[in-house]
């Protein structure tokens, strides 16, 4: 059994100094195996996105141990090796692309920073891989729809050929029909490239669809862990999880 790609021990993340200190994450343990798709579910304020940000080096104050593929992380600085291995897709497609950079510029810069050569060919390949045609290459973000922007964000994340992808609510800002496309895309990419996903969402159905194992967070702590099969069967230990499952019930059967 290969070593887990991500190991988190007693992670605590806080903002500010006492007496205004806010503890967003209050001691979380997490292990994600290579090639696995792991979900973090919770409502707003549960700390789930904060864990991703701490991983990415975007949280200023944290304690505990985070190990990614054998490399221990410290503070907010991240090594080049880390950037090659771990990438992130953000929630808001309207904020994750620089408004003055074309798609081509975004991908070219990313490839350059990742030390990749053969930039032109790689850009063309990336656009194909995420289902955008070559016609999108020179568009500005305001000429793209939400779903298209998110595809560009995925392409950017894949440019460096990472092993672990952090997904922060990648479809919550998208329409239902577009969400289905992006979820399918993510599933396909994971199957094709053997990627590992750590996905955060408030939507249980989305997590249940894309993830194999999940952890439920509330108030900065993990209150429940289960796998997708148990989730679908409604077999949850904690009452909070059962409450979430109930709230996400579908009232409509399939149509057509």
């Amino acid at each position: 059994m290969s070593a887990p790609i991500l190991e988190i021990r007693d992670l605590r993340v806080w903002f500010g100094n006492p007496p205004d200190r806010v503890d967003a994450v209050k001691g979380v343990d997490l292990t994600v195996a290579r090639g696995e798709s792991f979900g973090l579910v919770g409502e707003s304020g549960s700390g789930k996105s904060t864990i991703l940000r701490a991983l990415a080096g975007l949280a200023p104050t944290w304690s505990g141990t985070i190990t990614v593929d054998g490399e221990t992380l410290r503070g907010t600085a991240r090594s080049k090796a880390f950037h090659r291995k771990v990438q992130m897709v953000f929630q808001d497609p309207y904020a994750s692309l620089h408004p003055r950079h074309t798609v081509d510029r975004v991908l070219a810069e990313t490839l350059k920073l990742q030390g990749m050569d053969d930039v032109d060919r790689r850009i063309a390949r990336l656009l194909d891989d995420v289902g955008l045609g070559q016609g999108f290459r020179f568009r500005y973000p305001h000429q793209l729809s939400g779903g298209q922007r998110q595809r560009v964000a995925v392409a950017r994340a894949l440019a460096g050929e990472p092993a672990l992808l952090l997904l922060d609510e990648p479809t919550s800002a998208l329409d239902v029909s577009v969400q289905a496309e992006i979820l399918n895309l993510l599933a396909d990419l994971r199957a094709d490239r053997g990627l590992t996903y750590l996905m955060v969402s408030h939507d249980l159905a989305v997590i249940g669809h894309l993830c194999q194992r999940l952890a439920v967070m509330q108030g900065g702590l993990i209150v429940d862990r289960l796998d997708a099969a148990a989730l679908r069967a409604g077999r949850a230990d904690s009452a909070y999880t059962r409450h979430l499952i109930e709230a996400s019930q579908s009232y409509v059967g399939s149509a057509g």
Binding site: S44, V176, S177, L183, N184, H202, L204, A205, L244
Partner: protein, 299 residues
């Protein structure tokens, strides 16, 4: 058979752009009785614009036209602003998505309700205050005194939305338009807020137009549903019949949702067909929006 509360025929909202005229709403017709009507669509479907057009909130250069738009038999189409002000808030109210943005951040909550109520009914301050407290209790806020004196940033999202509902229903309007009222709220709070809204609407015999992108939610809380696509109503049906939807867009929307109880390998992707946008509408699917078929609402 009573006349509908709200009657809309061939509503159109158009905006001039550099590339020509863009029609956000292209001929929407429906009746609203004392029932809960859901309007479902994705972004760009024109559902929010429909709500705003009814309230006269579409500013120039946007243009609203319709064959008829009547509230209790009286035309409210393109009324002069002064007359529209008498209707807005008093006879038709609107609850919007995020209480963070619809509540005035520098005024205490109670004062806002009082001000809104006084402006709509011309009542005195003492009467308005009593009424505000009544409404806060009606939306099941446990400590109405404390909340009355609180600022919007001191209350949670769910409570903020309940305050909005209290404010909008204080003057006893006949119709409530709720535009994505729970989209900014946590999942566990959503049901409660909707239930409160639902009870109030039913107790007062109001009509409710519930605009949302969330089919599930609408199915749960509405009697009838209009499905909108590219500015038109493509299907109308009773909420309990949603699973038997016949228009391919509605079916596509339902099937593309991931579901815990019906897992799939790949989600069905909606294949948009141009005839949904520009082709003729199936009268069998759409005419049922007229109140002849659904007098006074269903359920």
């Amino acid at each position: 058979m009573s006349a509908p509360l709200l009657l809309v025929r061939d509503l159109r909202v158009a905006f001039p752009t550099r590339q020509g005229v863009f029609e956000a709403v292209r001929g929407v017709s429906f009746d609203l009785g004392r029932e809960r009507l859901g309007v479902v669509g994705e972004s760009g479907s024109g559902k929010s614009m429909t709500g705003r057009a009814i309230l006269g909130l579409v500013r120039p250069p946007g243009r609203v036209t319709a064959q008829r738009m009547e509230l209790d038999g009286q035309s409210i189409l393109n009324l002069p602003e002064r007359q529209m002000r008498a209707i807005r808030g008093r006879r038709i109210s609107m609850v919007m998505q995020d209480p963070k943005f619809s509540l005035n951040p520098v005024m205490r909550v109670g004062d806002q309700i009082v001000e809104a109520y006084r402006q709509q009914t011309g009542a005195g301050r003492a009467t308005a205050r009593t009424r505000a407290m009544e409404m806060l209790e009606a939306v099941r806020i446990r400590e109405p005194e404390r909340v009355f004196g609180a600022y919007p940033h001191e209350v949670s999202g769910g409570m903020g939305q309940r305050i909005m509902i209290a404010m909008m229903l204080a003057s006893g309007p006949e119709i409530l338009i709720a535009d994505e009222p729970t989209s900014a709220l946590d999942v566990s709070v959503r049901t409660e807020v909707l239930r409160i809204m639902d009870d109030l609407v039913r107790d007062r015999g109001m009509g409710l137009i519930f605009i949302s992108h969330d089919l599930n939610l609408v199915a749960q809380f509405c009697d009838r549903v209009l499905i909108m696509y590219a500015g038109r109503v493509v299907e109308t049906l009773a909420a309990r019949d949603l699973h038997a939807a016949r228009h391919p867009y509605t079916q596509g929307l339902l099937n593309s949702l991931p579901r815990l109880d019906a897992p799939v390998e790949r989600l069905a992707v909606l294949e948009r067909r141009p005839e949904w946008k520009d082709g003729p509408l199936d009268p069998a699917l759409v005419d049922a929006s007229m109140i002849d078929a659904f007098p006074g609402g269903v359920r």
